[in-house]
């Protein structure tokens, strides 16, 4: 019988730097292979909406806890955490401001990871204008 091992992940989505945007919230979810299954903890979550402080720091702080334990028989399909950041546009609609993903670290101990974020762009100029007006920017259906 294949041996089972457990991976316990404890940590937080600490903060973000988004120089152009404010009032952002983030969603995280874990993506993993067929041999993995979460045993306890939350597989996805939505954070609070945070805003920048008035002083020079300009960081967006969430301090959002991540607690999950996975059970697996195979390192292939090692879990990744996918983070999506959303914020309001000029008209108040919720628009995606960034997507990013990183693998859960492989070695035991404390780790810090900084995830660069990217946003899909419309392919045609006309779509860019209509999406700015309608508030429906291109988004991934499955991050």
């Amino acid at each position: 019988a294949p041996t089972v091992f457990l991976l316990m992940v404890n940590g937080q989505i600490e903060s973000a730097q988004f120089p152009q945007f404010d009032d952002l919230y983030c969603k995280y979810c874990f993506v993993y292979g067929h041999d993995w299954a979460p045993t306890t903890g939350l597989e996805e979550g939505i954070s609070q909406i945070t805003s920048k402080n008035r002083d020079a720091q300009q960081a967006l702080v969430w301090n959002f806890p991540i607690d999950i334990t996975f059970k697996s028989t195979n390192p292939s399909g090692w879990p990744q955490i996918v983070v999506s950041v959303y914020g309001p546009d000029l008209f108040g609609n919720d628009v995606v401001r960034g997507y990013g993903a990183v693998h859960v670290p492989f070695t035991p101990g404390s780790h810090r990871r900084t995830i660069p974020m990217f946003v899909p762009e419309s392919t045609s100029k006309l779509q860019k204008i209509t999406s700015w007006l309608m508030g429906r920017h291109p988004e991934f259906t499955d991050p």
Partner: protein, 175 residues
């Protein structure tokens, strides 16, 4: 049973708009954890920094836990409060961080956030002070119900924690 010692101190805080701060702290663990010795919550003294704007508390933490399972690994949560010359107390930030799981000495910087009210509340907060506070302080270290909350960034709490683990290898846990 495996054992964990957390020995260190809450050094101080920086990045808050005013000094004269004190910190209420606590350690939250899951159901399988038992406190063997030490205090699992407390409150520091109020510090008025004379030089610079970093408030130093040097508040010792020395706790000893025994556990039957890894779930509910200790989380240290803090609430930073400001005390003004009239003795009133105002909340300046909530924050939490997990206790490190690898043995050794760690310097932790715990970021904090403050609940943000609507703009009339923020206007009166500017003149009178006092702002919204969490009714349920579990929200500081859990993420389940945060999506309706609006917050703003606050300062950072600095901690130094040494972690000592015992008997984890017996249970097949690599730390």
């Amino acid at each position: 049973m495996a054992e964990v010692h957390l020995i260190g101190q809450i050094v101080g805080a920086s990045g808050f708009p005013r000094s004269s701060l004190f910190c209420k702290w606590g350690i939250h663990t899951g159901g399988a954890w038992k406190l063997l010795s030490g205090l699992r919550e407390g409150q520091t003294q109020v510090d008025h920094p004379q030089l610079g704007d970093v408030a130093y508390w040097c508040h010792p933490i020395d706790v000893h836990f025994a556990t039957k399972g890894l779930q509910g690994w200790p989380k240290l949560h803090v609430q930073v409060w400001h005390q003004d010359p009239f003795g009133r107390r105002e909340l300046y930030g909530y924050g939490f961080c997990h206790a490190p799981s690898s043995p050794g000495w760690h310097a932790l910087a715990c970021v904090t956030w403050l609940p943000r009210g609507s703009w009339p509340e923020r206007l009166s907060q500017l003149f009178v002070g006092g702002g919204p506070q969490l009714l349920n302080s579990d929200l500081i270290y859990t993420g389940a119900d945060r999506y309706r909350l609006q917050t703003t960034a606050a300062g950072t709490v600095h901690l130094e924690l040494g972690v000592l683990l015992r008997h984890f290898a017996r249970y097949g846990v690599e730390c």
